[in-house]
């Protein structure tokens, strides 16, 4: 379950160059293409969505660089958003017909099961338990749980093994906070958002913040002199696209779309416009899981 160290290091160094103000720059010049005249198998979800010319996509609103609702422009931005737009484009649905729905971690499965959203692209880690209730295609991005510490502590806390008794902050109800408490003996400090955690880290009230490395890197890149992401990933998070359970046709369609995006450069563009805004290099696209 260990992430390749080279991958983690590469992403770390490369993204630590500083993320520009929370992915603010937009991507007018590289909107994903909208497919026209594609034929979808009759009766498939894709055909239905294409005919309806609208799609509901579950995303995060509060993770900078990954899935974020800009409170000023009221636009969604981030890697997940770009991937979602690629999928919608492949369905022949233009960007303005996408209905974005905020899915906090807990309601991703319920929303998919009830049909509240058609797909979920919300830092949605692929797990076997989840695959029993919903479908997950991908992964489209690899990351893992890591630690964010103050610059001064980067030699004292180099990884999860030094966390015993240390105050570690994460979001209430997240798997990250449970893992550091139960597996590494840390003292959990729950807050409502990651930004609040980072704030408590900066004002010395906690000594580490933990969640997916992708999210931490966004914060570290904003303040490279004060914050540092340390340690190998001690979990593996493979971000996937959630869809309704047992919809094999949808799975194959998503895999096709992702493969195309990996090879024709749109995935790289998506990365470059969001997590890579600092000028970082996009990593290699991951290998897709087969549809079962």
């Amino acid at each position: 379950m260990r992430l390749r160290r080279t991958f983690a290091l590469a992403t770390a160094t490369v993204l630590a160059l500083g993320l520009a103000a929370c992915g603010g720059d937009d991507d007018d010049t590289s909107a994903p293409p909208v497919a026209t005249g594609t034929q979808f198998p009759a009766g498939s979800t894709m055909a239905a969505l294409n005919t309806a010319q609208s799609i509901k996509i579950g995303v995060k609103y509060d993770q900078p660089g990954v899935g974020f609702l800009n409170p000023e422009t009221n636009e969604n931005e981030g890697l997940d958003i770009e991937i979602a737009k690629i999928v919608a484009g492949a369905l022949g649905i233009p960007e303005d017909k996408i209905e974005w729905v905020e899915t906090v971690s807990a309601n991703r499965e319920p929303f998919l099961q009830a049909g509240t959203v058609d797909i979920v692209v919300a830092s949605y880690s692929i797990t076997d338990e989840r695959r029993e209730v919903v479908g997950q295609a991908g992964p489209y991005y690899l990351t893992g749980q890591q630690l964010l510490v103050r610059e001064a502590d980067k030699d004292r806390i180099t990884g999860p093994d030094q966390l015993s008794g240390i105050k570690v902050c994460s979001v209430t109800g997240s798997t990250s906070i449970e893992r550091v408490e139960q597996d590494y003996g840390a003292q959990p400090v729950p807050f409502a958002t990651y930004t609040e955690c980072v704030q408590q880290l900066l004002n010395n009230s906690v000594d580490a913040v933990t969640t997916d490395g992708s999210i931490l890197l966004g914060y570290a890149a904003q303040q490279p002199d004060d914050l540092e992401v340390v340690g190998d990933a001690f979990s593996e998070e493979r971000y996937g696209i959630g869809y309704k359970h047992a919809d094999t046709a949808m799975c194959e369609f998503l895999n096709e779309t992702l493969t195309k995006a990996f090879t024709d450069g749109t995935w790289k563009t998506a990365f470059d416009n969001t997590l890579g805004q600092s000028g970082a290099e996009a990593p290699q696209p991951p290998t897709l899981d087969p549809c079962t």
Partner: protein, 304 residues
Amino acid sequence: MSSVLYDVPGPRGRRRTLIWSAVSTIVFAGLVALVLWQLASTGQFEADKWEPFTRPGIQRGILRALAATLRAAVLAIILSLVWGALLCVGRLSERWWLRYPAGLVIEFFRAVPLVLLILFVFFGFTNSFENLGDRLEDTLPPSLANLLAVDQLGTLAPLVVALMLYNGAVLAEIFRAGIHAVPRGQSEAAYALGLRKSQVLRLILIPQATRIMLPAIVSQSVVVLKDTALGFVIAYLELVRQGQLIYNQFRNIIPTAIVVATIYVAVNMTVSLLATWLEARQSRRYGRQAVAAAEAAIPEATAF
């Protein structure tokens, strides 16, 4: 009453008052100055932390969130008035099999933290609400659908339902105290005239009780308004959540908190002023003693 506690001060009294005033002014002003100075030294008053609030996009976002807060509050108040009335009727019933369950329900919802109630309704029922929202979106005219924010029903409904359950229980107790506060002679006379219980309730007690309870109901509405802030735990986009999104982007937690607090205080004070005006109007009509007695009968008048 406070003037009864102390005499018009003589020369020594005046000197004491002066000394106390001077000391307290120095202490309070000193504290405030200390806090402000410390805040300034950590850069809380820097322009770049406050500048975002001058941007029209941000301001629109805040107004949208305020509308969301008011929407949740109004829906919750209306629904809890209905639910509270139902519970109260049950509680006042002569049939024990209505009375005891109603009492239990009231005590249950008054004892459970609102945060947990919101989480429970959310995790248990959010899909059903989203589906309901979709169907409403298709059937209602667009203006009404927009007003009710049916697209956010998955998060709005759990918040409103939780608020309704809790506030309904509190209101049920207020209604009950209000009905008991109506002078006994009224109901006695009504019964003597041969009216049935439901008629007594409907024609005699409720109209009078309503007048007595109105300030308490309005105070409770302020509580509902404040409690909508808890919607942020299920990511309903009201003022606190909007504040979170803002400081996620601009990293200005303290300025955002101050702005949000000011908006809440302004809105709530306006509603409270309504309550005070109502109370004053009733004092003029029914005399201060009656109003004070009614208020004393309704302990929940000290709303929280």
